[in-house]
């Protein structure tokens, strides 16, 4: 068992204190110098020095000091020094301090007594404590409460020691007596705590005899009472009834901490609806009454837990929870919405949506900076409501469509995506939505929103009037033709005026982007920037939004416009009986398309039209000129079908996820049953094992380590020296979260004794050695296990170098054996994680470090290669399986992982099958820090060969 650490102080290595100086100062009479020297000594000790020679000096010169600070520092010193030898026996010189401690326990100064008692709480050595017990007990009855409360704690910790029950046989008796007379709330709490931990029966007894007065007790005591109740009821479920009353009475306590505790106690005790309801009500009350964001968030967490276990009860409280939307904090609002969305039922949906709508309206009026994000959140919430309960869609969709022209692009996109989904799933609303969309189309500012809206117009304008007004709207938005003409001087100057502006914008924000399928598109981000900068290209109001967008050079949008027009014309051919009208429309569309092409090839814009858009636009022209049934079918039906398919797949995925979630929360029939008796326990009593609070604490202190696969252990053995070296060493590396433990076995292969054998380790990267190496003596052909702890502070590939240095009796120089490097694998730190597509994109755009690795592999199949990469990098593929399904000779996928330090690792894989059957392409890794990008790249380069 490793020594526990009670104290950390930053130590500036620049001013090392010499042990001799400290010693001199300690021996002197100057109190200030003594204090200073004690501080230095403690710092040195914390820094890993052992300073054994100082102990006697301290015993001789510091122990008798009368200064209070010196005495307190002395206690700190005693706290951190090694008090036992290697075998766990108390060092004999330690009893020298007993006298001093005893004097302190009888010191006339109550604070000295108090701090000494507190020090005893941290002392584990029975041999030192034993002679002090009478003095400790005397202090139980001291008239100063400061002493009493610490004395009680000291008694408690002594009693909790392994032999504590023999040392203090009648401690519970005494404490019980103390408890009955004690007035100080803190001391009373401590006494009750002592009984609670050491003699639970007595604590219960006390509680039950004073049941009427519990509500008058101090806050601290009430907390312990609740803790006791929890514990008792866990072990003895049958006795719940006795305590519920107490909890109910405490629910009205003046202290909010107690109320909170009551609620969580209630939840843990009972699953009766009344109890849960009471708890939930209390939480809601706290949620509203507490102004602290932390409290709100944590209470929301609690409510979330309640929601998953007692959904039916929480449903009734949905409106109470929703009220916390009034908090301006986005995190709180997000959490609230998350909870609420899972609680909506047909009964409350209307209420909820009404509330959400109100909130949305509020965001329009307010000037708060986070309004945009909040609105987006609300829209998403409404979206999911509408999908779950299509009947509400009608009430919200029109409201939401007002936000299509929102300056917040993200929320506008959300709205348009929502509209797109609703129009498909809710055929009844189709007509009204289309009418509305056509009416508001001119307001749309963002290119991505535009293209989506255009798609909707193209797909869902079915009737003649719809198609006609659709074409009219687009035409109106494009404005006068042509976009650009050399002959017209006025427009030419006009255009040339515009260009520099557009130019600067596009160039500054040109970024590569990935499409939804993961492919790389050279997309100009000008559209977004154009919106963030409100200076819309001049004349936009007159000539329409589409025109201004096109004039910035967004030819992708141009292609979409072309396609939409084509679709509309094709549909017009079906619904318009008059050939003339059709031809008219066709020619007009052709004119628009051609002018776009012309604009693309003109020199006014900095970038000529890209090939992709050019191809699509040309395709549209061909189609309009020469329509065939097959093509028509593809354009008019297949597109829609694939959209339907996408929607249904999305739904399928969601239901599958839900199913998976539901399955996870319950035990599988063939799940392992945990027998507490067989659990690894490390000196815990059985009661503690059953105590989830204790478990929680144990986990927090790191005492509770999840057992790892023992079989995997042996894979991790690294040979550090050769077999013919005089010293053979091998290491077994365990990687915990923030630390690496090297278990190094050193074997002396010679027939001589190796003296002063020392394992010197050095590290590269973000690794830090915790302890300094020790010297060992190794008998001939014997072995030694050496443990080295290394701290890790970020996800980077680290390398540990090392030497083994030793002396033998006949050769006086030190001999050095250089060890193999130990590489610490990045894979130990990253774990697969999930994030939304949008989040992935933003991170991809933000992150500064990119590592591009060319694909070079023997694997012939794209999917096999992807799987191999996923496996070897321990990442999660974000691209849905359906998108990777078909054989098309190329594949693009996004992978994502998170490190234990909270860093994100993004990978995009784009491969193409060459004619010769080989794969080519790139793997791009992006991260915020260089370390991840580099080491992950190295890893991939190493692994992509396909072997191991």
């Amino acid at each position: 068992m490793e020594k526990s650490c009670t104290l950390l102080i930053h130590f500036d290595k620049g001013t090392p204190a010499i042990a001799n100086e400290i010693k001199e100062a300690l021996e002197g009479n100057d109190v200030a110098a003594k204090i200073d020297a004690m501080k230095k000594a403690i710092m040195l000790l914390l820094n890993g020095e052992t300073l054994p020679q100082l102990f006697i000096t301290i015993v001789r010169y510091v122990l008798p000091s009368e200064d209070h600070t010196v005495q307190k520092l002395l206690l700190l010193y005693l706290e951190i020094i090694e008090k036992t030898d290697t075998k766990g026996r108390v060092l004999p010189e330690m009893i020298l301090i007993c006298q001093n401690l005893r004097n302190n326990l009888q010191h006339p100064n109550e604070y000295i007594r108090g701090v000494t008692l507190r020090f005893l709480c941290r002392l584990n050595e029975t041999e030192i404590i034993e002679p002090l017990i009478p003095s400790v007990l005397q202090n139980l009855e001291h008239r100063h409460q400061f002493i009493r409360r610490n004395a009680i704690l000291a008694v408690m910790s002594i009693y909790k020691l392994p032999q504590g029950e023999q040392l203090l046989v009648d401690a519970p008796d005494m404490i019980e007596k103390v408890l009955s007379t004690e007035q100080d709330p803190s001391a009373k709490r401590n006494a009750f705590l002592m009984l609670f931990t050491c003699a639970q029966d007595r604590a219960i007894n006390y509680l039950l005899t004073h049941v009427d007065r519990v509500s008058d007790w101090g806050e601290l005591l009430q907390m312990v009472v609740l803790e006791l109740i929890r514990k008792v009821c866990r072990t003895n479920r049958a006795e719940k009834g006795k305590y519920i009353k107490i909890i109910i009475s405490l629910l009205n306590a003046p202290s909010t901490a107690v109320i909170y505790e009551c609620a969580s106690t209630l939840v843990s005790l009972s699953s009766a609806p009344t109890a849960i309801r009471a708890a939930a009500n209390t939480y809601c009350q706290l949620l509203l009454s507490q102004s602290d964001n932390n409290v709100k968030l944590i209470v929301l967490d609690r409510l979330n837990e309640l929601k998953s276990s007692h959904r039916d009860i929480m449903v009734d409280l949905i409106m109470d929870v929703l009220r916390s939307l009034s908090s301006p904090n986005l995190d709180i609002r997000r959490k609230t919405l998350d909870i609420v969305l899972e609680l909506i039922t047909p009964r409350n949906i209307n209420e909820v949506v009404l509330m959400l709508k109100k909130e949305v309206v509020k965001t329009q009026s307010g000037e708060l900076e986070k309004n945009g994000e909040y609105r987006q959140m609300l829209i998403q919430a409404i979206h999911s409501c509408a999908i779950k309960f299509p009947e509400v869609a009608s009430t919200v969709v029109h409201l939401l469509m007002d936000f299509l022209g929102d300056s917040n692009v993200a929320s506008a996109i959300d709205v348009v995506v929502f509209v797109r989904e609703i129009i498909e799933t809710n055929p009844k609303l189709r007509v009204s939505i289309i009418t509305r969309l056509l009416d508001t189309f001119y307001q749309i500012r963002a290119a991505r929103v535009c293209s989506c809206a255009l798609w909707i117009i193209g797909e869902y304008c079915l009737s003649l009037s719809e198609v006609e007004s659709g074409i009219a709207t687009i035409k109106q938005c494009l404005g006068e033709l042509p976009f650009y003409s050399v002959s017209e001087e006025g427009e030419g100057t006009d255009a040339s005026k515009k260009t520099p502006q557009a130019n600067s914008i596009t160039v500054s924000s040109r970024r590569p982007a990935i499409l939804a399928d993961g492919t790389y598109a050279t997309q100009s981000a000008a559209s977004e920037t154009a919106f963030s900068a409100p200076t819309v290209v001049q004349g936009s109001l007159a000539s329409g939004n589409l025109r201004s967008l096109l004039l910035t050079g967004d030819f992708f949008l141009g292609a979409v416009v072309a396609c939409t027009l084509t679709k509309l014309v094709l549909r017009l051919q079906e619904v318009q009986p008059s050939k003339v009208e059709v031809n008219k429309a066709t020619t007009q569309a052709l004119l628009i398309i051609v002018s776009m092409l012309q604009l693309g090839q003109s020199s006014v814009l900095p970038h000529p039209i890209d090939n992709d858009s050019n191809d699509r636009i040309v395709l549209c022209i061909r189609l309009l000129c020469n329509t065939g049934d097959d093509i028509r079918k593809i354009w008019l039906q297949s597109c829609r079908q694939s959209f339907v398919k996408m929607l249904s797949e999305k739904q399928l995925r969601e239901t599958e996820e839900l199913k998976a979630k539901a399955q996870v929360s319950h035990a599988q029939p063939d799940d392992l049953i945990d027998f507490y008796h067989l659990k690894s326990r490390k000196g815990m009593s059985q009661l503690e094992l059953e105590d989830e609070v204790q478990d929680d604490l144990k986990r927090a202190t790191g005492e509770f380590v999840n057992d790892t696969d023992d079989a995997n252990k042996l894979n991790r053995i690294l040979q550090l020296t050769g077999f013919s070296d005089p010293v053979y060493a091998e290491a077994y590396v365990t990687v915990h979260h923030y630390d690496i433990v090297l278990d190094i076995t050193v074997i002396n292969r010679t027939k001589e004794t190796l003296q002063n054998l020392c394992l010197e380790l050095a590290t590269m990267g973000d690794l830090k050695l915790v302890e300094r190496p020790q010297n060992y003596t190794l008998a001939p052909e014997s072995s030694k296990q050496i443990k080295a702890n290394i701290k890790v502070s970020s996800t980077e590939t680290g390398v540990i170098f090392g030497n083994i240095v030793y002396e033998t009796s006949n050769v006086h120089e030190r001999t050095v054996v250089v060890l193999n490097d130990i590489h610490i694998d990045i894979m130990d730190y990253i774990s697969p994680a999930v994030c939304t597509d949008a989040a992935f994109r933003t991170m991809w755009a933000e992150f500064e470090w990119e590592n591009k690795v060319a694909v070079n592999t023997v694997i012939q199949d794209e999917k096999e290669f992807l799987e191999h990469i996923i496996k070897s990098t321990n990442m999660k593929c974000l691209t849905p399986v359906s998108a990777l399904d078909d054989e098309c000779g190329f594949l693009a996928a996004n992978l994502y992982a998170k490190s234990v330090f909270g860093e994100d690792a993004l990978v995009n894989l784009s491969v193409e099958k060459q004619a010769d059957g080989k794969l080519s392409g790139y793997i791009r890794i992006r991260s915020k820090t260089q370390g991840i990008a580099l080491s992950l790249g190295d890893k991939i380069t190493l692994k992509q060969k396909g072997g191991n």
Binding site: I9, H10, I95, H107, R118, C121, L220, A257, N329, H737
Partner: protein, 611 residues
Amino acid sequence: MVVLAASVLSKSGKVLVSRQFVDMTRIRIEGLLAAFPKLVGTGKQHTYVETENVRYVYQPIEALYLLLVTNKQSNILEDLETLRLLSKLVPEYCYSLDEDGTCKTAFELIFAFDEVICLGHKENVTVAQVKQYCEMESHEEKLHKLVLQSKINETKDVMKRKASEIDKSKIDKNRGDKGGFMSMGSGRIETSFNDMSISSSGSGSGLGITTDVDSFSTKPKGRQPSSATAPPKGLGMQLGKSQKTNQFLESLKAEGELIVEDVQPRAGQSRVVAPAATDPVTLTAEEKLNVTLKRDGGISSFDVQGTLSLQILNQEDAHIQVQIETGGNPGILFKTHPNMSKELFSNENILGLKDPNRPFPTGPAGDAAGVGLLKWRMQSADESMVPLTINCWPSVSGNETYVSIEYEASSMFDLRNVVISVPLPALREAPNVNQVDGEWRFDPRNSVLEWSIVLIDDSNRSGSMEFVVPPADSSAFFPISVRFSATSLYSDLKVVNIIPLKGGGAPPKFSQRTNLITENYELKPWQETWGRENTPRLLAEARALIMKTKAVTRITPTANALIRKKALFSGQNVGIFFVRIGSETPRAPANKIDAMATSLYSKSLVLLLAS
């Protein structure tokens, strides 16, 4: 509801101070704290972070983060309360709220944190209270120090008083000696002058006496040389002396000095030696009694030392031999002076010089007490040999202690001038004596009650006294010392005859005196006194005890610590041992450390760590 650690970090993530309240390894806490800066995001409006296992609750303070690490089930409301309190405390103790300021006051911060959180539980304190606790100003300590100081002062006063008293008694003694010397009617040259003055004072009027006193007290220095030339002789006190000292004492009393007359025993002693040698040959047999009795009966030590001395006034009577007769007590061992003929003594019980031609030294040249001829010694453990046993029973009743003392004398001796001195706890007034056989007086200065019985003979072989004092520890009444004298001896030595060696005339007339006096006769609470001179013997005894009893089952840690400490300070191997007899607790050894150990370790019978 447990706070794992309270820490202060710099904004860059450097751990400045961290105090852990539950057991956790260094790696763990360092790992947790190292992870924190990465977890704390910017632009968030809440100040807690949860990870898989722990929750961090923090608060930025200028260039620092104040951080609590708790488990996840911890009560957030309470933790926030704690954090708020700590955040008020940090600026109180840090000079400046940055790295330097925190590092400099790291220890003060730790002390303050300790006051707020105890074993991970929040204490019910306010900022002011924490400050008060950390300042550690204690009324009680001040009071204690005052009491201590006043005690020291008091002791100093007592010391001063004692010193002046000693000075005075020295002067006093000088005078007394001088007086004694002066009054001695021996044939010294200077004495003639003194004799005159004495005679004048003796015969003169009261006025003369006072002037004499005045001359002594005002001009002691003038007389100094004379006293220096004549070494004081304690045994030479003569009749006039008591008168003289009394005068001094009276005058001292008149001057306001409280002096307790304590003359009886001396008078007794002096009476023994006093009779002037009127016969040409005087043989004095004297036995001195050294007895230590235990409080609860039994003898701790019993030792009789006897001498036979011869005083011859005239040269012509010096050629003699002395025929003696001993009581045949087998316990007594006689030793003759080296000049004596041993054969003669062992065969015929005659004391004579080896060289019969030499005379015995005569009076003026020899010792005032005469020439020692024979010495003897007797030791015994037989209780019946003790001439006088004393039983003292202090008993507390209510607000008073009743002490009853009784004596019992053996029928061997008739004891004279018996004085039993009982030490009393410091009293302002004389104790209340309920009943007494004989007389009593109280010496307030030494706080001794003296019970005197002029003669103990067959009429009063036993007697008792009872007195009442305010409540006191029973050990306060010990040791009781006893003085008495008697005329018969343990050895029953008798001078039968004096055989003249020359002249063949009738043996010169001789007188014989026998005298038994107490030298050290005490009733002690415990067996031994602890004293430096006793140490080797005690050590030996303790070893013997260990050998016999094997009483020490173990050396307790504290005792061990004590031994080590002593060794450390003295640089030698040392031993401490506590002797326990009967049901009594061990006698407290002389110094403080030992006293501590004794009270702690009354269980151990004997502790010894020698060599």
